[in-house]
């Protein structure tokens, strides 16, 4: 079953573009990555899921129900972590979390304490006094304490130190194994690469590609670096070669196509070194943005 169905979703803010004709499905149990640079329309899409804003045209169904008509009902099972976390000032962490829990039908007090403990969050502090990273932790606990079936993360890791990021990823994986579907928006590709099954790439308000993370990396491109004396860059500008760069007698490029014909070409040179590796998502991504 599709947890999220996005149908020809378009949002304009007056004349300014939000997103244009976006369609995709998120299946149950997936960790779905949503990547694009700032201003591409990631937050707009998420805000439409939550009916924080209303679409110009198109619709979103979550758990098979229209997200505007059945908004309150479907939000029982959604956990949302906004990119910018600001919470009522003057409130203590525990008060805020209890307030958050009071909206849900189930009893969340046990899970609340577990999560706070896991994220090393001090419940007695006032939210005003917290650092950005600690506020972010409040956001994480607040978004997960009701054990939602769908977790929506909008650039969740900014402000968290690497150790906390790791903990956070483990937490998300755990929730995923428990059966939660995760929608993960980010502009940091390595983190999407680390955790997601599928990824949609959004650029200037439109989806430009949706792919399996594995096929995105493996089936398409190789990152190749050659070192040799008297390398002639010209000979390597064949079809399938991208981002050809020459530096101090070494040549590097991205290759997509028949590996054998490339190997033949390489074997004609007297090499001192060669590396063939999976390109990072960043490199593939830059390619989509060219």
């Amino acid at each position: 079953m599709s947890i999220i169905e996005v149908n020809h979703l378009t949002k304009y803010y007056g004349k300014a573009r939000g997103i244009v004709d976006v369609s995709f499905d998120v299946e149950e149990g997936e960790i779905y990555g949503f990547i694009g640079p700032n201003g591409a329309g990631k937050s707009t899409t998420i805000r439409l899921f939550l009916s924080l804003i209303y679409p110009t045209s198109g619709c979103v169904k979550i758990f098979g129900k229209d997200c505007i008509e059945h908004g309150p009902e479907i939000r029982q099972d959604i956990g949302y972590l906004p990119s910018e976390v600001f919470y009522y000032e003057g409130m203590k962490v525990l008060d805020l979390l209890k307030y958050s829990a009071s909206f849900y039908k189930k009893d969340c007090s046990q899970r609340l304490l577990e999560l706070a403990d896991f994220m090393e969050l001090d419940l007695k502090r006032r939210i005003d006094d917290l650092s950005y990273g600690n506020k972010k932790k409040v956001g994480i606990v607040q978004g997960l304490l009701h054990q939602p079936k769908l977790i929506i993360l909008d650039e969740p890791t900014s402000g968290l130190d690497p150790l906390m990021q790791q903990k956070f990823f483990n937490l998300i994986r755990e929730e995923n194994q428990r059966g939660a579907t995760v929608f993960f928006s980010s502009h940091i590709l390595s983190e999407v690469q680390k955790i997601c099954n599928r990824v949609a790439i959004i650029k200037e308000g439109s989806i430009i590609n949706i792919q399996d993370i594995k096929s995105l990396q493996k089936d398409n491109y190789k990152r190749i670096r050659l070192t040799a004396n008297n390398l002639d860059a010209q000979r390597f500008s064949i079809s399938g070669v991208n981002n050809l760069e020459q530096q101090n007698g070494s040549l590097s490029f991205l290759y997509k196509g028949d590996i054998n014909s490339l190997m033949k070409l390489i074997s004609q040179s007297e090499l001192t070194d060669v590396t063939i590796e999976e390109p990072t998502l960043e490199e593939i991504f830059m390619h989509y943005y060219e």
Partner: protein, 267 residues
């Protein structure tokens, strides 16, 4: 209920400071009444020599500062300005503060409808105003007893004057709210509430000065003119109907606008 409780608790400080300020204002003004009353003749003579436009601007035409009703009616104008600012503050801030500080993202992602949110907030604001209202009742009755200087007065007109507080504040609350929903973003609440409260007051003040009263019909300071209520011993019903119609229209409009509103993000 959880939202109502939180909204109300966040207003406790504000309620206390408004109630205390209003009490002090009333106490300070009324404590002067006994000495005013003693020299009532002199005072009325002095007032009679002032230009009528100036008196009109302060709502002091046809006022007899020597009587309890005349004096308290005059003082009540200042109380009304306070009440108007307080109610406008709550109205303008009802949803805009949440949007400006981005807690709207938190609240609206919870499993509640916009109607539930607005209703809880509105009821919390009304509860806060009601408590202030009670404080004004108590202060008024107290100063009436303490500082009547032995002059006779009838209590009923004062009860009518106090009863006007609820619809008076409801007007500023609902109009503030609907204005905040008509604009994209409210940057700061206080200047807007000052403008609304003093604007409405000025309409009446200038209307009196110019001897025109068509514009005044939209101002609660005319609908619930304390001196008029005190001298008449009741409300001017057509004006009250206008007032309540404005408030209802603003409330219905607010629900319609809020249900359709796009909540802006941080950027």
């Amino acid at each position: 209920m959880n939202m109502f409780k939180k909204e109300f608790l966040m207003k406790v400080k504000s309620i206390a400071s408004w109630a205390i300020s209003i009490f002090i204002l009333m106490f300070a003004f009324m404590s002067l009444y006994p000495s005013f009353s003693a020299d009532a003749g002199l005072l009325d003579e002095a007032l009679a020599n002032m230009p009528p436009e100036l008196l009109a601007a302060f709502g002091m035409t046809d006022i007899n500062l020597g009587t309890v009703a005349g004096y308290l009616g005059f003082v009540f104008l200042f109380i009304q300005i306070c009440l108007a600012i307080q109610a406008s503050n709550y109205g303008f801030g009802l949803v805009s503060i949440e949007e400006r500080e981005l807690t709207a993202d938190f609240l609206l992602a919870k499993p509640v409808s916009r109607t539930q949110i607005l209703t809880s907030k509105l009821l919390a604001a009304l509860a806060a105003l009601t408590i202030t209202n009670l404080a004004v009742w108590l202060s008024t009755l107290l100063v009436l007893n303490l500082f009547n200087a032995g002059n006779e007065y009838h209590l009923t007109p004062f009860l009518w004057m106090l009863a006007s507080i609820l619809p008076f504040q409801l007007f500023f609350l609902s109009v503030g709210m609907v204005i905040s929903l008509l604009v994209k973003r409210v940057r700061s609440v206080t200047p807007l509430s000052m403008a609304l409260a003093f604007g409405m007051y000025m309409l009446v003040a200038f209307g009196d000065m110019l001897g025109q009263d068509s514009l005044e019909l939209i101002s609660p300071f005319r609908h619930f003119d304390a001196s008029a209520i005190l001298s008449r011993g009741g409300f001017d019903m057509p004006l009250v109907v206008i007032n309540i119609a404005f408030s209802l229209l603003a409330i219905v409009g607010s629900y319609v606008l809020y249900k359709r509103r796009n909540i802006r993000s941080a950027i």
